[in-house]
């Protein structure tokens, strides 16, 4: 009970406040259109009529929350999931690219981190560039990757997955190198007194010790992978949440855009939550849960 009062209630209050702000903003931003319409029809609507109209426009500047919620429900539950109008269909396209790219990026990232930790030359050559690459707006190359791969006949899932992989790769490398190096010299010395081989050190000490670091970067990486997939869908209109966003902005379908945006947000929440659940399970089994 106390937990609800100290943790749940503040969040609910903040969310309610956000919705109120949203309604006010919607009424304010859409009122211009209503007034223009009224001026054209040479009527003077009352305040109540203006507010009522701003809540139910077809192409509002800022759709009211209930409009977005209705549209979201309509596009998710009332459409067949195989239909091109269904948000679930588009979310699946984005999700598959995200997961494939995330798997590739994580795998390569861990492999490179293993190389960096075990090879001094590799460490000094690659690591500065891996760190420097984090300061670069990598997402800028997304349209180029899509178009270039398209021009040599690769389209669909793979180009988006490559962007996702690229975005999730560097956080994993940096986090995993820090994790594999996290055992202190006492622990390393102990394994040396056991005459442990590098492989044994890796599996019995370094990998388990790196898990908290790995999962911290996996959470960053999967969010980045989703962003990569969404942005990768912008240049070519072949479905996916990014395509829905751009299509909505071309045709002024603001409600559809907001619905797609919410779908992307929910997808991100599910992905990060899943990684967090796996993290707590793994850490508990390793006896590292805090």
């Amino acid at each position: 009970m106390n937990w609800i009062r100290t943790h749940v209630w503040p969040i609910v209050a903040v969310l309610l406040a956000l919705i109120v702000v949203w309604y006010v903003a919607a009424a304010w931003m859409n009122s211009q259109w209503t007034l223009d319409q009224a001026a054209r029809a040479q009527t003077t609507p009352s305040f109540g009529e203006i507010v009522a109209d701003t809540m139910a426009q077809e192409r509002p500047k800022l759709p009211a929350p209930h409009q977005v919620a209705y549209s979201f429900y309509d596009l998710v539950f009332d459409k067949k999931i195989t239909s091109r109008r269904s948000l679930v269909y588009h979310a699946w396209i984005t999700l598959s690219a995200t997961l494939l790219g995330f798997a590739i990026g994580t795998g390569l990232g861990i492999a490179l981190a293993l190389g960096i930790v075990h090879n001094r030359a590799m460490d000094q050559s690659v690591m500065p560039w891996a760190i420097a690459s984090q300061t670069i707006p990598i997402l800028a190359i997304a349209p180029m990757i899509i178009v270039v791969l398209n021009s040599i006949g690769i389209s669909g899932l793979i180009p988006k997955a490559i962007i996702s992989a690229y975005l999730s790769f560097f956080p994993v490398v940096v986090g995993m190198v820090a994790g594999l190096r996290s055992p202190d010299s006492m622990q390393m010395d102990l394994l040396k007194t056991y005459n442990a081989s590098p492989v044994q050190v890796l599996f019995k000490l370094r990998l388990p010790a790196s898990m908290p670091f790995l999962f911290a970067s996996l959470k960053v990486g999967i969010a980045a992978a989703l962003v990569g997939a969404v942005v990768g869908e912008l240049p070519v209109q072949q479905g996916g949440l990014g395509a829905r966003l751009l299509g909505g902005s071309y045709y002024g379908q603001t409600i559809q855009m907001w619905a797609a945006l919410f779908m992307a947000a929910i997808l991100a929440a599910i992905l990060v939550f899943t990684v967090a659940r796996i993290e707590s399970g793994v850490l508990k089994r390793l006896g590292m849960a805090r």
């Binding site: 707006p137 962003v227 966003l245």
Partner: protein
Amino acid sequence: MSSLEENVGRDWQPTQWRNWAPVLVALALGAIDWRFGLLFAVWLASWWTNAVLARGERRILVAAVFGITMLVLWEMAVRLFAVPLVILPAPSVIGARIAISLPILWGDFVQTAIKGALSGYIMGCGAAVITAVLIDRSKFLQSGLLPVANFAAALPIVGTAPILVMWFGFDWQSKAAVVVVMVFFPMLINTMAGLRASEAMQRDLMRTYGASYWQTLAKLRFPAAMPFIFNGLKICTTLALIGAIVAEFFGSPTQGMGFRISTAVGQLALDTVWAEITIAALAGSAFYGAVALIERGVTFWHPSQRRQR
């Protein structure tokens, strides 16, 4: 002792084949296609150089050799295999393009990085720090906002770009708006964490001095929060550039890095795209470096700023 060292010195002889295996691989690759063999040989030579260099403490040199090798291999691969320009331009071509179109690149840089990213960065980070200070006294608001902000920081906020471009028009204002939304939550989380970083002992000391809330904030808690704040500021430099560039994909005046990239990709003028990406990378590193430099000046007392020996 000396005999032992001699033994160690001669130890390579039994495993001699290992040292020569890469050369054999290079020769085998060369037999398949001499170009593969050549590329592999260059790679091998530089790797061997780095392996030798890495024994000392010449970190910058090693990294530089690696970077240059990558560029050389890229150049050689493009030339040897005659890769068409529309797939991958050689570094020399990109360099030439940068040299030719410096005025255009500078205009794009000003439009995107200064007008869009930097203004949004300052507004967003400033708003986040002010918000964190404002809600600092309210436990209720803090415990409500922190989970929401944590959640929002993981969202693909770039997706709001088309909406904000609709609201604020095509010019830099909409880009700054995207950047504000993108940097706000990571910055808020870091500042809130920072304001909690001072220790109870230190706060008690301030209380014994009879310091007011604002004095404690200005003299103890804000300085103590600086490492966290700068961590947020550094994360946000990259986010700001990404936001400004991606927002331009949704509509922009006929200037800007994102605009140039998306139109040049459409014309398959990949040398221009790569030139723009180079500038974006340089701008990102410089932006990050500038913030890191300021951090060194401000948080000189923090252990992470101690010079490594």
